[in-house]
Structure formats: C-alpha cells, structure tokens
C-alpha cells in the first residue's frame, strides 16, 4: 500500500515551489497530455499524468527512479490541449530540477564536444533549443581557449548542434555523421542496381510517425526508397543531402514536424530554412530544385508521409519512363 505524506515541505510542496510546478494540483487526470505525447507513443513508461499523480502522492524516490522523467523535450504539444492550463513541460522541468538537486542525473545520451576541433564560435550555443551548450575557458594543448560545454541535464540529444557546428566538432552518439552515412550506405544501397529504379532517400524525423498504420506503411516501402531516421529534421546538415545526390540518389526528401509541433521546438524551422535555401540555390544553378524536397508533417496528417513518399516514387517512375 502506498503511504502518503501530506505534511508541508513534502516532495509535492518542493515541486510546487519550483518555477513551473505551481499548477500541479489542478490536474484532474484526464489523460489529454498523455495521449498527445509523442514520447509516450514510443516509450509508454513515460506518462506525465502518472508522474504528476506520483508527485501529488509524494512518491519521491519512485518518481526519480523512473528514468523516463527526463524524456520530456518540452515540445509542448500537450500544453495547448490541457483543459486545466497546466504547462506540463514546465512541470516536468520542475521535477527534473528537484531530482538534480537530489543527485539524480539524466540517463539520456547527450551531445559531445571534440575539444580539439571546437573553436568556441558559439554557433551551437545559439542553436540549442534548450540552452544546454555554453562556452567555458579550458586549457587545451597548453593553451587556454573558450570551448563549448554540454550541460547533460539539459541536453535532449536532438542533434541540432551537431548539424550547426561548422567544424563538425559536436557528435550525438547514435547520429554522428559517420553513422548517418552508414545508414544511407547499409547493404551497399547506393551502389546496388545503378540502373534500377531511381533512388529516393528520406531523412525522417523519428517523431513523425504517430499512427500505427503509418509506421507499418513505412516499413513496406519499395527497395529504391531508403528511410534514414534521425531524432530531428534539424539534425540534417545540407551536406548530407548534397552528398547523397552526388552519390546518385535521384530525390532526397527531408520530413520534419509541423511548425509549432516540433519535438525539439526549433528543429523543423531550422530544417525548413536550410532545405528551402538549398532549393533556391538549385534554381539559381539552373538545376532541378525538385531533387530536394521538404515536408512538415503535423499531428493531424494521418497517412501523409507514406503517401508523399509513394507519390514521389510514382512520379519519378513516370518521368523516367517518359524520358526513356
């Protein structure tokens, strides 16, 4: 049985005293946030409603022991839908802050900076949607330099910084430049059947596929389509796109979230800026701007991503036939 403690200065009070924690007790457990939550879809243990409940019941250690409390990326899809006006990501941040003070650490992977490559140019600090990067003086090879440093408790491993870093000095474990390249290459996909159907490479934000049916559809795509999942479309360095096209891919499709629904706040906007500028440059060069395509998939766009890809494949096929 759960023993609850309602004395002042309890865990609940501590969370509520933290900025963002004030509205905790408004929650009437309707579950709207949970069903809107993208993290919950892939990681059902992350349940903001239940976490709030646990805080209300002063279940301190159990709350902290759940590693998923660190998963909220403050995408704030839930907040505008909450009928009680609770800013859930602020609340989760409040819980994280209390956890940090208690000595807990985020178990999430985080960005890593190569100190030798880093010039302290500050681009990453401005690019990070979470303020997880900042410059600090450090002696490297006997010389004091300002180097970017990652606050692990804030980093959500979205990889926006890794793409932004002009020196490729930042790496996010599973999505390093090399690993992304390896995903594209896997099974010698690029080399295979050069004369076959034109290849379509999709860089897909992993939060895009919200419906089971969409996930199924994505696993049944034809062989000339390769989908490379990344944490965020903001991870996509235009170099990836150009490299793929240069390697013979016919079309690159970058799929991000609808603005305002980005799991990492800014990623989709950054990707939009990059891809649309690429389109402009292709036009300026007198090249086929259609070779780079960018779509933003919203929570309501059931079936849109697989349909977009299949349309693209069909269109390519018909144009090849026409040329032939």
């Amino acid at each position: 049985m759960q023993h609850t403690d309602n004395t002042p200065h309890s865990f609940k009070d501590e969370v509520m005293a933290e900025p963002g924690g004030e509205l905790l007790q408004r929650c009437y457990s309707c579950g709207t946030c949970v069903s809107m939550c993208l993290v919950n879809q892939t990681c059902p243990d992350y349940n903001p409603r239940r976490t709030m409940r646990m805080v209300m019941l002063d279940m301190r250690e159990e709350t902290f022991r759940n590693p998923t409390i660190w998963h909220c990326s403050a995408c704030d899809l839930c907040h505008p839908h909450c009928p009680q006006g609770i800013h859930i990501s602020d609340l989760m941040r409040a819980i994280k802050n209390v956890a940090l003070r208690a000595g807990y650490e985020s178990p999430l992977p985080s960005a890593k900076v190569d100190e030798h490559k880093c010039s302290g140019c500050d681009i990453c600090e401005k690019a990070c949607p979470y303020g997880a990067l900042s410059l600090a003086a450090k002696t490297i090879d006997g010389k004091e330099r300002k180097i970017s440093q990652v606050d692990r408790s804030l980093c959500m491993a979205c990889g926006i910084c890794a793409a932004a870093c002009p020196l490729s000095a930042i790496t996010v474990e599973d999505y390093s430049n090399e690993k992304v390249a390896a995903q594209i290459q896997a099974g010698h996909w690029l080399k295979k059947a050069k004369s076959g159907d034109p290849k379509v490479l999709v860089f897909n934000c992993s939060w895009n596929l919200r419906a089971e049916a969409d996930r199924d559809a994505m696993s049944e795509l034809p062989a000339n389509v390769r989908v490379v999942n990344v944490p965020c479309s903001g991870r996509i360095d235009p170099t990836f796109v150009l490299t793929a096209l240069q390697a013979g891919v016919a079309r690159v499709l970058v799929a991000g979230c609808q603005p305002g629904e980005c799991h990492y706040k800014q990623g989709t906007r950054i990707a939009q800026g990059r891809m649309h500028t690429l389109n402009h440059m292709f036009e300026q060069m007198g090249m086929d701007a259609q070779r780079v395509q960018f779509v933003q998939i919203g929570t309501e766009d059931r079936g849109r991503l697989p349909a977009t890809i299949l349309d693209l494949v069909a269109e390519l096929k018909s144009s090849t036939v026409a040329v032939a």
Partner: protein, 618 residues
C-alpha cells in the same frame, strides 16, 4: 407548448423582444417590440402553400444548419403559433408567396416593428443558453471532418421529424455508421473555454447512446469521458443500464482526432486512464457533447433588466444558496439555463420555483419596499429661499424629485429608490437619506478610524456590487490584509465628497471608493453620478496635496471577490510603501484645508452630536 398557447391566462408574444424595463417590484413597465412577420397572424392558417414556391434556401437553424429552409417558413412542424414568417434578410421580394397565398391574402409586406408598453408586477427571466461552437477546438476537427458532429446535430439526425426522417446517416457519405464515439466535456471543464461543468451533457449522451443501442443492438458505441456525473434521481441507474447494454465507457479525454481521408473514418487518440495507456480508436462518426454557454445576448438582456452575470457568464442569482432563483433586482426572478446549465427536470423545477417566488408578490395586494429614500430638510433647501438650484433633480435617475423655485425640493417616496445621489450632490447639505444619514455615516467613519487611521485601508462599498464582491471574497476565502475597514452605503452615488474629506482629515492611510460596473448599477445611472464626482475629486485631492496613490476608485461586481481581494492587497501594499514619516507629514500638512472643506458638516442635523460623541468615545 400547446398547453401554454391555449391557456386563457397566458398571452404568447412570439417574435417579440424586450427593449426596456422601467419601474420596480410590483410595478414594472416593459417595452416590447414585435418584429414584423410580414404574415398576418389572423389570416394565416398555417396551410403551407407559400413555402414550396419560395426560391430561397438558407440553412435551417432549427435543424442546426444541416437542412435548408425557405425565406418564408415555420421553424418546425409543431411550431406555436403555427404561423408562417418571412425572414426579411433572406427574402428577395419576388412575391411568389403572395400568389401562392391567394385569397387568404395573409402576406403583408407593409408590416412594421410594433412596440407596446406592458405593465407587469414581476418578471421571470428564462432566456436559456447557447450551444458551444466546437470548431474553435481545432484538435477535434469539427467543421473540417465531415463525420464529427455535435450532439444537437445528432438530435436532429435521429429525429423522425428531422431532415433525414429519423434515418441515421453520417454526413460524409450518407452511410449508416455502426461504430460511433461520443466525446464529453467539449467546451466545458476546460479553462481554455469554460471552466464550469455543463451539467447535463453526461445524461444526454447516455440517453443518445442507449437509444441508439436499443434501435441497433449491434452498434459499437464508445463514450470518452473524464467523470460521469449522475447526481439526480434515477440517473446512476440509467448509467448502469447503459454499461450493461454494452456501451463502452473510456475514462480519458481525447487529445486529438484525425481523419482517414479515404474512408472518412475518424481516429480518436486518448489515454485510457484506467489502463494507463494511450489508445487509438477508429470510429465512423464522432459526436461532440458540447457545453451549454451563456446566450450571446446575455449582456444586453442584463443591462435592460439591471441584473448582472456570474464569472461563468450566466445570470447571477441573489444568493447562491438561499435565494437561488431571485435576481439582485427585487421582483425579477431567474429560471432555467439562463442562470446556469440545467437539464429538463431541473429547468421545469426552477421554472416552478420562480413562478412561486413571483406569485408571492403577485398574489399580494400591496408590497412593502424599504423606506431607504431621500428626504429634504426644507429649511436648508435654497430653492425654498427663492434661489435657483435643482441640482438634486438632475442627478435623480427616477425623476423622483420635483424642484420649483420658491418651494423646497420635493421627493416622491414611491418613485425614489434610495441611491442617495441627490443627498451627496446637494451643495447645501439639504437632503438626507433615511437609514444612511450623514450623522450615521460619519459616526461609522470615526469608529472605523478610531485607532491608527494612517495604517488603514478605508473602503466605501455599495450594497449591491462591491459589498457583494467583498462577501464573495469571504465565501471564497480570498485572503486580504486585515488593515481594511469597510463602510457600506447603498450606491456609489451616496459616497459624498465630504465623507472622503472627513476620512482623510481623520488621517486615513488610503481610501477606496468602490461600486458597480456601469452596466450593473442597481440605480440605472447612480454609478455614473458617483463616477463623475470621483473623477473631479481625484484631481481636487491631488491639488490639496494628497498623494494620488492614497485615493482609488474601483468598480467591482458582486461576483468579483478575487478582484476585491486583489484591490485591497494592492492598496495595503501601496500604504506600506509610503514612508510613515512622510505620510504623517502629509496628513498634518493637508489637515487645515480638509478642515476647511468639512467645516459646514456640523450644520447638518445630528452631525454635530455625532462628532461630539465620536470625540468622547475616542
């Protein structure tokens, strides 16, 4: 409906609006305006020959816009009165209806709006509610997804007298939907729209679901809810029956509905709270249980009737517990969903309750009203001395004061409602208000400021609004500093400049004058009389050297307890921020001028005695 129309004691005035209300309990005069129907009520026999020939088709509001109607129409087959009406905005004046009407000759385009004054002793407000428009909740897709409909639309689709003749079909493809879902609390219990519980939606949804299941036992029906509220007689049993019939209840508020554009089917995403897991449910049709909301014209109606709104937007009752059908205006009663969302049994019960409250008055031969009225000290009125004045009459909202030069001003007690505006405005202190005399108010002022006045927040409150607001702060337990001292008069119009001068003379730290919002004033224009005075007074006080932050004017309704508490908190804060020494010096410095201002107060009967007594007591 028909009973009402046939009852010999009831006169149905349809297509008629209330424009103005004058008078008081037992003696109201109501100006009503009948809109032109352009159909002669006596000649029209409701035969319906006109409507088919009308070439205009517009959405039928009675059918929630899902079916058309003509420009000449009856709202529905059972309409009372069963007489046609021409919608002037839609009519193109082709006169085909005139031909169709033929010899009956009932069409009359010369009709004009018709106004009349009606004398009544009591008014019952049963103006009802509006339905929440769910299209503002983007995530539910109403208006974008054809098969997301409102409960009211379902009522019409599932009605043998409705546009589909009771044949259930979904909008996208006219197919029968076998798998349907209801979503509760759409627009209610949601701080983005309405915080209150709309009350009757749980039951109407269960009713619709049960009815559907009875007709189509194979139907797959789901109800998404947060809490099912079944507090009245037989309701919980009905809910249990619904569960037993196999209607699926899922506790969890859907966050989003998406549509499969190919099938038109809808996917509802919600956390099944019991399960602790997010589920996705496919439905062929989704019915939104929309909230009841205050009618769009509530404000306009409120200012005609002099009644105000609670924070939820519905009409406010005199007392939520003890006088739930009385409005704050004597003789005006509230019933049905105009006061708060209600189901049919509750509306009928409240209708009866309001009728009995009204009958209390209407069955009496005469009614007693409080004698809190103005009274002229004839010897002090300069009009009696042949001088031209008449300020009092200009301030009276009721025309209750007659001024003839050479005679003292005369107050007609039955017309006077007792706001006290004339009393405060009389430059010669020649008028008093019974039960709120200058001597009484000044005695209170001295008592309230007898100890450390410079640390007090003195608050003048009007009986109807700001005193009610202070009570509301109390019943809601909205705390504010105990430095506040309240003094109640009937209306802000009664808050005499002399009272405020006297308060500052006594060294009050800060002074609040508070009354109703202009549209809520119980005395038509009483608030305005006060407001104009306070505007001048604010400047005058500054000229006299009183720091502007020491005097504040606020309009606070009886529902605004939170605001009342906030204003007092702020004023207390203001007072604490003033340096005590500087405040003391300001009080000393301004006292001579303040004394000069109130030097004539002791001339008023009893005031000298009051001052003397106050001195003796302190």
């Amino acid at each position: 409906m028909v009973d009402a129309a046939r009852h010999p004691n009831i006169t149905v005035k349809s297509y008629t609006e209330v424009k103005r209300v004058e008078g008081f309990i037992g003696n109201f005069k109501v100006l009503v305006e009948e809109k032109p129907r352009y159909v002669n009520m006596d000649r029209c026999n409701g035969c319906g020959a006109c409507s088919p020939v009308c070439p205009i088709e517009i959405p039928n509001e009675f059918e929630e816009g899902i079916a058309p109607r003509k420009a000449i129409y009856i709202p529905h087959a059972q309409a009372v009165p069963l007489r046609y009406v021409i919608d002037e905005e839609a009519c193109i004046h082709c006169y085909k209806c005139v031909d169709a009407c033929g010899k009956l000759d009932a069409i009359d385009f010369s009709q004009q709006p018709r106004q009349e004054w009606l004398d009544v002793g009591s008014i019952l407000v049963a103006t009802g509610f509006d339905n929440f428009d769910p299209s503002v909740i983007k995530e539910y897709g109403f208006g974008r997804y054809a098969n997301v409909i409102t409960a009211m639309e379902l009522e019409r689709i599932n009605n043998s007298a409705g546009p589909t003749a009771g044949r259930i079909m979904r909008p996208s493809d006219s197919k029968f939907p076998n798998k349907i879902s209801f979503i509760q609390c759409v627009g209610s219990r949601d701080e983005r729209y309405n915080l209150y519980c709309s009350g009757f939606c749980c039951m109407y949804t269960i009713k619709n679901a049960v009815q559907w299941k009875q007709t189509y036992p194979d139907a797959d029906i789901t109800i998404f809810y947060m809490d099912i509220r079944t507090p009245s007689k037989g309701y919980e049993e009905f809910y249990r029956r619904a569960r037993e019939m196999g209607i699926r209840f899922i506790q969890g508020r859907p966050s989003i509905i998406t549509e499969d554009p190919k099938t038109g089917n809808l996917f509802i995403q919600a956390e099944d709270v019991g399960l602790g897991r997010t589920i996705e449910l496919e439905s062929e049709m989704v019915i939104l249980s929309t909230a009841a909301i205050p009618r769009v014209d509530t404000d306009a109606m409120g200012s005609v009737l002099n009644i105000s709104r609670s924070p939820d937007g519905f009409f406010m009752e005199y007392h939520p517990k003890l006088r739930p059908v009385d409005s704050p205006t004597d003789g005006v009663f509230l019933c049905g969903a105009a006061q708060s969302p209600k189901d049919i049994p509750a509306s009928v019960a409240q209708g009866s309750a309001a009728a009995s409250r009204a009958a209390r008055i209407l069955n009496a031969d005469e009614w007693e009203i409080e004698p809190i009225v103005a009274m002229v000290w004839e010897d002090r009125c300069i009009s009696a001395q042949g001088k031209k004045c008449g300020i009092c009459a200009t301030k009276c909202p009721y025309g209750a004061i007659l001024v003839e030069t050479g005679k003292a001003a005369m107050v007609t007690a039955a017309k006077c409602h007792g706001c006290g505006g004339c009393v405060a405005e009389c430059p010669h202190n020649a008028i008093t208000q019974k039960h709120f005399t200058d001597a009484q108010v000044i005695s209170q002022l001295h008592a309230l400021l007898r100890h450390e006045p410079e640390k007090k927040v003195l608050a003048f409150m009007c009986h109807w609004c700001s005193y009610g607001g202070a009570d509301n702060a109390g019943t809601s337990h909205f705390e504010y500093p105990a430095s506040q001292r309240g003094l109640r008069v009937m209306c802000s119009a009664r808050m005499d400049s002399d009272f405020i001068f006297e308060a500052f003379r006594l060294g009050a730290g800060v002074v609040l004058v508070s009354g109703c919002h202009p549209q809520d004033c119980h005395y038509i224009t009483g608030q305005r009389v006060g407001a104009e005075r306070f505007e001048k007074l604010t400047k005058r006080l500054v000229d006299m050297g009183i720091s502007p932050q020491r005097f504040r004017v606020e309009w606070i309704s009886a529902a605004e307890g939170a605001k009342y508490a906030q204003v007092i908190r702020e004023m207390d804060q203001t007072l604490r921020q003033i340096d005590p020494q500087a405040l003391k010096e300001e009080i000393e410095r301004t006292r001579p001028e303040l004394e000069r201002r109130v030097r004539r107060l002791p001339e008023i009967p009893d005031v000298a005695l009051a001052l003397e007594l106050a001195k003796a007591t302190s």
